[in-house]
């Protein structure tokens, strides 16, 4: 029976494609392998259901297609069968949801020792900010933004003076240290997306969003924008370079602070001496 065979081939072909597909997720570079495991569980459960339903359907078409003299059975319902199927489905759904929620809990619980860094999106480029030696980042305001102050830092905030501001350069991160990535946008929605990190989050003007992760391998990774942000959306690129801690610090030493960039070094020192304002 040709139709039944083709239907079965669709199911078998889909499974084979899945097994032999050269297109698969990128090698992971952060602690979020839990997410990959949850996807694997989901693939197993949904794959089994998919194959079972289509194979059953193909069998029905093979076994019960119209022939002269065939007459269908008459059975309006079967309460017992319907309940068993409902319960079975609920169990399957629970088996996917439960690990999903556990991992989500981890995803939204930022460890206390995570270093805060900041990524800012604007049409169509990325800027980054790292806390200086004080380990704290200064406050910002979108109204402060000007050519001299592209990330809108508050000039009066002492915490901001030693922040490292990287305008249209690459982001460097140390391996093995949890980071809380704070996300800001100047104009429209963007989304800081590095496929190897698995984590991603929209950047929304008017608010600060975040996610956290721990890089687990060194390398250079593409940063893409994953939320449509206008005509050059596809060209909004940067790179993240995950390094050994010593290399990272060597790089950090060469970076300019906000105070240096805005040429207010002297003023800053004076402010420190007087104990801030």
């Amino acid at each position: 029976m040709v139709v039944a065979l083709i239907l079965l081939l669709v199911a078998v072909g889909s499974v084979l494609f899945h097994i032999y597909s050269p297109w698969w997720w990128t090698p992971i570079a952060t602690n979020w392998s839990y997410i990959d495991h949850t996807i694997s569980i989901t693939f197993w459960i949904t794959g089994a259901v998919f194959f079972a339903v289509i194979a059953f359907m193909a069998y029905c078409v093979f076994r019960f297609h119209h022939k002269e003299g065939r007459r269908a059975a008459y059975n309006p319902e079967n309460k017992k069968l319907e309940w068993w199927l409902t319960i079975g489905t609920a169990v399957g759904v629970g088996a996917m949801l439960a690990p999903g929620l556990v991992v989500w809990h981890q995803f939204v619980t930022v460890p206390a020792d995570a270093t805060e860094i900041e990524v800012m999106g604007q049409q169509w480029q990325w800027s980054f900010r790292l806390p200086g030696k004080d380990g704290r980042m200064g406050t910002t305001n979108v109204r402060n933004i000007s050519p001299e102050n592209p990330m809108g830092l508050n000039r009066d905030d002492p915490n901001g003076q030693d922040d490292v501001v990287i305008e249209s350069g690459d982001l460097h991160l140390p391996i093995g240290k949890p980071v809380k990535v704070l996300l800001r946008s100047l104009d429209v929605l963007h989304n800081f997306y590095v496929p190897e990190f698995r984590a991603k989050m929209d950047m929304v003007p008017g608010m600060v969003t975040y996610f956290w992760m721990t890089p687990i391998r060194t390398g250079t990774f593409d940063v893409l924008c994953a939320e449509l942000c206008g005509v050059a959306h596809a060209q909004m690129r940067a790179k993240v370079i995950v390094q050994e801690v010593s290399e990272y610090h060597a790089w950090l030493e060469t970076q300019k602070t906000f105070a240096e960039l805005s040429g207010r070094k002297a003023v800053t020192k004076a402010t420190y001496k007087s104990g801030g304002n």
Partner: protein, 591 residues
């Protein structure tokens, strides 16, 4: 035994309201153009929706040409690509599928299937179509205005949609919002009609639990649409104000291209909540009529009652209700409060249960059936496969943490095309093959139909199944050109080219279908009144196509449910709903 004459009508509960006088057209214009007859309005809706749908089909070719062979076609640039995806999505979801299922199938089938002479408010029904047509014309006009249509994506997320970095900022976005507002006004007029007609104009004996699932699906979808579209309505009005009057409903303080803007205090996320409060039920507004119709196609062509009718009805109603508490699963990575993820992932995965029950009941209807592999049945089988596939990938995206890496990638594009593109369109096509004989009195050509089915089904599957894996790899959606990356292997470009070729082939198959529609109108085999030997009322009309007022002198009386196929002991393998029970002894065989 005493030979008492059995009054079959006594079985049938009285109708909800007595018959009302029909509007009678007085001229050619009021009969065929400004018609108040639901059947004519249905055809007007269907033709308009199909026409604008063809525009969306051509747009999909242009997009695929760009994705399959980037840089080859100089007439497609980044701006145009974004305009194509925006218009393609908006047309397909709202102006084609919503209008076709509710305005087209709803108008044609509801009165006929519940045994009414027409919709309850025929004049408002007529207005509904003309306002819809106006909405379509306003939408289509954006192709010709300065700056062209908006390229904000069909989700129209602000601030991007109203700022100058997005194509169509001048006229495109304004006309898009105006068109949506018009569509919603027009839809509300039609929608109220469908709901009131189902509740009030059912013929004698047509209890709610005897209605065909087609009517249940369209009815529930319409109720949902009446509750969901107002959210899009207010969102559109507010965004129009933001764009034209400089208000800040969705606009925070921002800097655009180095310029401080005067906006401040608004919330882009508020728009997303409003949009998806509409947008998620919208998925089911398209899906539920498809669920209903496909149930009837399977039952009729497998000559078997639909398995678990009551469960099917409650699943439709349950899915409809649940779909109002899952909207933020579109926003897991939007920056909303992360704790929302727990709630919305749970509700979203719960909705899988009634949906799975429907799938089981469709395939269990095939079990021990007498399956006629007619073209409508083939499309129904194609629907089951694509819907199961697309529904299961929904379990990835609904499960909050799994969604994080996959959101905004081609996986999402593949998922929603499979589940709310290909699957419902399989049903639309199957339904057209099924009801075309009732509308025209002629059968569609079977050979062309089978060719159309196999190319469309296998082709669409080959387009969207592999596309998931491009997304799994990490390729983002809404990129006109992936450009240079370190993580995308060259073979992905080959796959993209393959998908483009399949898209062109599937598009070509639709031309065969269009030819079939026209050719069969004149040359098709005469169908008679009930070519599929179906039970439901629309096949029992005295004339085919049904005449003015549908039923001749007297309304039909309904004595049984819609699924008396292959009843043991009956001479034929179907018993129409309006056939009285032979003797009281046979009662109780079915609800």
């Amino acid at each position: 035994m005493v030979d008492v004459p059995y009054d079959a009508r006594a079985d049938a509960p009285p109708a909800e309201v007595p018959e009302v006088e029909l509007y009678h057209p007085r001229s050619w214009w009021t009969q065929y153009v400004f018609s108040q007859d639901a059947k004519v309005i249905a055809i007007q809706y269907s033709l308009t929706a199909s026409a604008i749908g063809l525009v969306a089909l051509v747009l999909s070719w242009l997009m695929r040409l760009q994705l399959g062979f980037p840089g080859t076609f100089s007439f497609i640039d980044a701006s145009q690509y974004l305009q194509f995806i925006t218009m393609h999505g908006m047309i397909m979801v709202i102006y084609l599928l919503t209008a076709l299922f509710l305005g087209g199938f709803g108008n044609y089938l509801i009165p006929l299937m519940v045994g009414a002479r027409d919709m309850v408010f025929p004049y408002v029904n007529m207005l509904s179509y003309w306002i819809y047509l106006l909405a379509v014309l306003v939408l289509a006009s954006t192709f010709f205005v300065p700056g062209g249509p908006t390229g904000a994506g069909w989700t129209l997320y602000p601030p991007q949609a109203v700022l100058s970095g997005t194509p169509g900022q001048d006229w495109g976005i304004v006309l898009m919002l105006v068109s949506l507002i018009l569509f919603i006004i027009g839809f509300t007029m039609g929608g109220l009609n469908y709901v009131v007609t189902v509740l009030q104009a059912r013929t004698r004996g047509m209890t709610l639990m005897r209605m065909p699932l087609t009517v249940w699906g369209i009815f529930t979808a319409t109720v949902m649409a009446l509750l969901a579209f107002p959210a899009l309505f207010v969102a559109s009005v507010m965004m129009l104000f933001d764009r034209l009057l400089g208000t800040s409903f969705f606009m925070p303080a921002l800097v655009e291209m180095g310029q401080q803007m005067k906006y401040g205090g608004g919330s882009p996320i508020l728009f997303q909540h409003l949009f998806w409060f509409f947008g998620h039920p919208e998925v089911y507004i398209v899906a539920l009529p498809a669920f209903g119709i496909v149930s009837d196609l399977i039952s009729t062509h497998a000559r078997k009652n639909i398995f678990g009718y009551r469960m099917m009805v409650w699943a439709i109603v349950g899915i409809g209700a649940l779909s109002f508490v899952v909207w933020a699963h579109h926003m897991y990575v939007s920056g909303m409060h992360p704790k929302f993820g727990f709630f919305f992932a749970t509700t979203t995965l719960i909705i899988a249960i009634p949906t799975a029950i429907k799938v089981y009941n469709w395939v269990l209807t095939l079990w021990r059936g007498d399956i006629h592999l007619t073209v409508p049945m083939l499309f129904a089988l194609g629907f089951i496969i694509t819907f199961v596939n697309g529904g299961l990938t929904g379990l990835f995206l609904g499960n909050v943490v799994v969604d994080v890496p996959l959101s905004d990638t081609m996986f999402v594009v593949a998922h929603f095309h499979m589940v709310m593109g290909v699957a419902p369109i399989m049903v639309v096509l199957g339904a057209i093959y099924h009801w075309y004989p009732k509308v025209t009195g002629r059968m569609l050509d079977d050979w062309m139909g089978k060719f159309h089915f196999w190319v469309t089904f296998l082709g669409a599957y080959l387009i969207f199944f592999p596309m998931h894996y491009i997304g799994l790899l990490g390729v983002p959606r809404r990129y006109h050109d992936i450009g240079d990356t370190s993580f995308i292997p060259a073979s992905t470009h080959t796959l993209n080219a393959f998908i483009t070729v399949m898209a062109l082939i599937v598009g070509f198959a639709q031309m065969v279908f269009l030819f079939n529609l026209v050719w069969s109108l004149f040359k098709g085999r005469p169908s008679g009144g009930n070519p599929w030997r179906a039970t439901t009322l629309e096949w029992q009309t005295p004339e085919t196509p049904p005449g003015h007022g549908n039923w001749g002198k007297e309304l039909p009386v309904v004595y049984r449910w819609a699924y008396d196929y292959s009843v043991p002991g009956a001479a034929e393998d179907f018993i129409p709903q309006n056939q009285p029970r032979a003797t009281p002894a046979l009662q109780g065989a079915a609800p």
